[in-house]
């Protein structure tokens, strides 16, 4: 009789990783000051945390959490539906709804659960959900939990999304689900394109802005604010473990939708609510986000420094324009070695291997905080340079030229996911955007180009001997004219 635990003993990866001494996971932090942590008794720069604004160690946030714990206790001991709602929860929901410019919001115990809650409640058997292939695991699982039909579109590929929208059943309700900022590679979703497709095909949009809220937009309201499309995004989802220095998630949208989700979704009904400390921390962070835009500016400066600093050394930081800075290593084993070497050099990062990324594209994911000092950033760059050279990820000499990254500051037009060529590495060329009108010469050039192309393709058709082409052009043309319908077949 098969044993349900057999797969656990058969799983070798863990033992292999431990045996090679390259096991990077579940490292226990003994002490933390936000930008520096102590692991295994040694101080290391934390370059792998999503504590973007550095508020997790802010005394005001800590004080708010402690005060709430003193007032309400350590936990609510129940779900929101029954005994687990505090006035603090409602205050946070009102403040967030106002911040995210939506009618209502509901806070959930974790961000992961917020996605499970929204998707499982909203998608029925007669709904189709269109999901970016690069979406976070919580969205994938939320869709699995629901009864909706799923259609995955290639990462950032609007034409594929359009194709899927056109082919989907017209009787189904439609929901497009995408990360705002993709968590692994830090690229931004093509929101303007998604919005126009949603309008055209009558679809709703759920935007998971976990890595965008508090980071992007003039007021820190996230990806939708950055693109000026807040009103066009129907549901926004956010998390508190990143810029909000807490633990939890929020779904914000129209009152009726949020109300429905609150009452119908099992991950809210059957799970204990956010602890008082967590709610208070989120509230305090929200206030700081609203009152301290410099913090955000500093975060984006840090991000730009690190992107360009790493590229100047010869690293490939992919398509990110956010404080998520992935460094492409390629081979999985080398990635682990890289992680270990950085760790030993005093820098804590996150190794990312397949299946979270495509095979052959293992990367070291770093993320930076507004509170990182310049000295800490220099240490990180030094460590990367040393390790990168030693493991041959970068050449001995710095490149003469590298592409500068401009991070997503408010008002900066972005290269969006899926269109950036190095991401879709198969594309050899990408038509550049034009900012000047076509000149007559260019138009003529295009026309002649088209004629050349057609002529060349015509010669590719099955033709008699080249010699005959010249000696009997008319008969050839006559023959081809007769068989016009066969043109195009080999």
């Amino acid at each position: 009789m098969p044993d349900v635990f057999e797969k656990c003993s058969a799983w070798k990866d863990y033992r292999i990783a431990r045996a090679t001494g390259l096991y990077p996971y579940f490292r226990a932090i003994e002490q933390s000051e936000g930008t520096e942590v102590v692991i295994d008794g040694k101080r290391r720069v934390m370059a792998g945390s999503n504590n973007y604004l550095g508020l997790a160690s802010d005394p005001r946030v800590k004080e708010a959490a402690l005060a709430a714990t003193r007032k309400y206790g350590t936990t609510c001991s129940g779900s929101r539906l029954l005994n687990g709602t505090l006035d603090l929860h409602e205050r946070l929901e009102h403040r967030l709804a106002r911040f995210l410019q939506k009618e209502a919001a509901v806070v959930v115990s974790t961000g992961f659960q917020a996605n499970l809650a929204a998707l499982s409640a909203l998608l029925g058997r007669h709904d189709t959900v269109f999901s970016d292939r690069g979406n976070h695991a919580s969205l994938v699982d939320g869709i699995r939990l629901s009864f909706g039909q799923e259609r995955k579109y290639r990462h950032g590929d609007l034409s594929h999304l359009e194709e899927l929208l056109e082919k989907s059943s017209p009787e189904h309700g439609r929901l497009i689900v995408t990360d705002g900022v993709f968590s692994m590679e830090g690229d931004v979703c093509p929101l303007p394109g998604i919005v126009s497709l949603a309008r055209k095909h009558g679809a709703r949009i759920l935007l998971d802005d976990a890595h965008g809220t508090g980071v992007l937009g003039a007021s820190g309201r996230g990806t939708a604010e950055h693109f000026g499309l807040e009103r066009e995004v129907d549901l926004v989802m956010g998390t508190f473990s990143k810029s909000f220095a807490s633990l939890g998630g929020v779904i914000a949208g129209p009152f009726e939708v949020i109300n429905y989700v609150k009452h119908k979704s099992r991950p809210i009904i059957f799970s204990a609510s956010m602890t008082p400390g967590a709610v208070a921390a989120a509230l305090a962070s929200l206030e700081i986000i609203e009152r301290e835009p410099d913090r955000r500016a500093r975060l984006l400066d840090v991000a730009e420094t690190m992107h360009n600093g790493l590229r100047a050394l010869g690293f490939d930081t992919g398509v990110s324009v956010t404080p998520v800075v992935p460094v492409l290593v390629g081979d999985q084993l080398k990635c682990f070695r890289f992680w270990k070497a950085l760790f030993e050099a005093g820098v804590f990062t996150n190794p990312v291997i397949p299946p979270a990324v495509e095979p052959g594209r293992a990367l070291i994911r770093t993320s930076f905080q507004a509170t990182h000092t310049d000295a800490q950033l220099d240490r990180v760059l030094e460590a990367f340079e040393l390790v990168g050279r030693r493991l041959d990820v970068i050449p001995e000499t710095r490149p003469l030229h590298w592409e500068r990254v401009t991070v997503a500051r408010p008002g900066v037009p972005l290269p969006v996911a899926g269109q950036e060529p190095s991401r879709a590495a198969r594309n050899v060329h990408v038509p550049g955007a034009r900012d000047t009108p076509w000149s007559g010469r260019e138009v003529a050039g295009l026309l002649f180009d088209a004629v050349e192309s057609l002529t060349w393709r015509a010669t590719q058709l099955p033709a008699p001997d080249l010699r005959k082409l010249a000696t009997a052009p008319l008969s050839y043309l006559r023959e081809k004219g007769r068989s016009f319908s066969r043109w195009g077949s080999p």
């Binding site: 010869g314 490939d316 492409l328 290593v329 390629g330 081979d331 080398k334 052959g360 594209r361 293992a362 041959d392 990820v393 970068i394 050449p395 490149p399 003469l400 030229h401 592409e403 060529p421 190095s422 590495a425 198969r426 594309n427 050899v428 060329h429 990408v430 038509p431 550049g432 026309l447 002649f448 004629v451 050349e452 192309s453 002529t455 060349w456 393709r457 010669t459 590719q460 099955p462 033709a463 001997d465 080249l466 010699r467 082409l469 010249a470 000696t471 052009p473 080999p490």
Partner: protein
């Protein structure tokens, strides 16, 4: 190095500059045969060329003070690595303005190497474009010999530039010149007689009426015959079909021969008219300002093609050492003479393939060209 930038190709305009570089550099060189620009575009278009189903490429341009002074392409061929069980990256399409400093070639090779290393590859090989099934090798001898169809031409300085960039020779490929008026060597005639008596070998021409079926037979023979050869990668169906349809306009059925034993195809030879003079006449474009000037020039020059290129010849493993390759060579020679061709270039053979090289020289061919393949460790 002031003003030198090596950048990956990202726009259509940059891609056109990439393709145009050799025309600008070698317009006046006798040995350079300008490929049709549209054909080059299609060859680099992932949506049109079947190599990109399993391969990825990155093109790099070196620009100095706004002028293009060099180019290189880096290829990541998954099929090659799967077949050989290694992690090799390839480079190709290497062209550099020899008047520009040596720095340029070094930077180009570094750019390609870095890109490949970033994809987890640890060895660099080339030049190929995009694999050994297409154009490959750097011409190191024979710059003044008559050019031939689909073989690379480079000026003499490239070899030194690549060597200075850290590349080392790995293998040479030889090109041979055979005049069709050579006497048929007695040894070959003896082999022919023996084969016809004993093994019941029949040699037939390609049947253009059943193009697809014949192409499929050739593909099977090509992959089976070449499997163990150094540097070989099997072509996928679509690669082979694509190449067949590209070469179809040049097809001379009598010059594509299949040897059969008891009805089973066991060997083949493929020779095509060398359309280099026609391509040279066209100069890279079939039309000028919309008028088919290049096309007409090409067609005119195509009337009097005097040379052939014997591209490939293969015998299935079980049927080797019976003289089938000698038979096919002799047969190709006869066919060429009958059709009025004056000379053929046999290219390419591996320098260490002694049996075939010996056979070709005893047929009367002279070694006139050498292409070199290079390699370099990346990690």
């Amino acid at each position: 190095m002031s003003g030198l930038r090596v950048l990956p190709v990202r726009t259509a305009a940059a891609r056109n500059r990439f393709i145009d570089l050799p025309y600008a550099l070698y317009r006046d060189e006798a040995g350079f045969v300008p490929p049709l620009k549209m054909e080059r575009r299609a060859a680099l278009d992932p949506s049109r060329h079947p190599w990109f189903e399993f391969g990825t490429a990155e093109l790099f341009l070196a620009e100095q003070d706004g002028r293009v002074v060099g180019r290189i392409a880096a290829f990541h061929d998954q099929n090659h690595n799967r077949f050989h069980g290694d992690s090799t990256g390839h480079f190709g399409m290497f062209e550099v303005d020899l008047d520009a400093p040596a720095e340029v070639s070094r930077e180009l090779v570094t750019a390609a190497a870095t890109w490949l290393r970033g994809r987890g590859l640890d060895r660099l090989e080339g030049p190929v474009s995009p694999s050994t099934n297409y154009e490959c090798g750097l011409l190191v001898k024979g710059q003044d010999a008559p050019p031939s169809l689909r073989t690379p031409w480079n000026p003499p300085g490239y070899a030194e530039r690549l060597e200075r960039a850290g590349l080392r020779k790995t293998r040479d490929l030889l090109g041979w010149e055979l005049r069709t008026d050579v006497p048929e060597p007695p040894r070959f005639l003896r082999v022919e007689a023996a084969l016809q008596e004993s093994a019941g070998v029949q040699v037939r021409s390609f049947d253009p009426g059943h193009f697809d079926r014949e192409v499929e037979i050739l593909r099977g023979l090509y992959n089976a015959a070449w499997e163990r050869n150094w540097g070989f990668v099997p072509m996928t169906d679509r690669e082979f079909q694509h190449m067949a349809s590209e070469l179809r306009p040049l097809l001379e059925p009598r010059m594509v021969r299949i040897a059969e034993v008891a009805g089973e195809p066991v060997a083949f030879s493929l020779a095509l008219p060398d359309a280099s003079p026609a391509l040279k006449a066209a100069g890279g474009t079939l039309t000028t300002f919309g008028l088919p000037i290049g096309l007409l020039r090409m067609a005119w020059a195509a009337r009097t093609l005097k040379r052939l290129r014997l591209i490939t010849l293969g015998v299935k493993e079980r049927f080797r050492r019976r003289g089938l390759d000698a038979l096919l060579c002799l047969d190709a020679l006869r066919g060429a003479r009958a059709l009025g061709y004056e000379a053929a270039e046999l290219s390419w053979t591996l320098e260490d393939n002694l049996p075939i090289n010996r056979a070709i020289s005893s047929l009367g061919a002279r070694h006139t060209k050498t292409w070199r393949l290079y390699e370099k460790e990346l990690a």
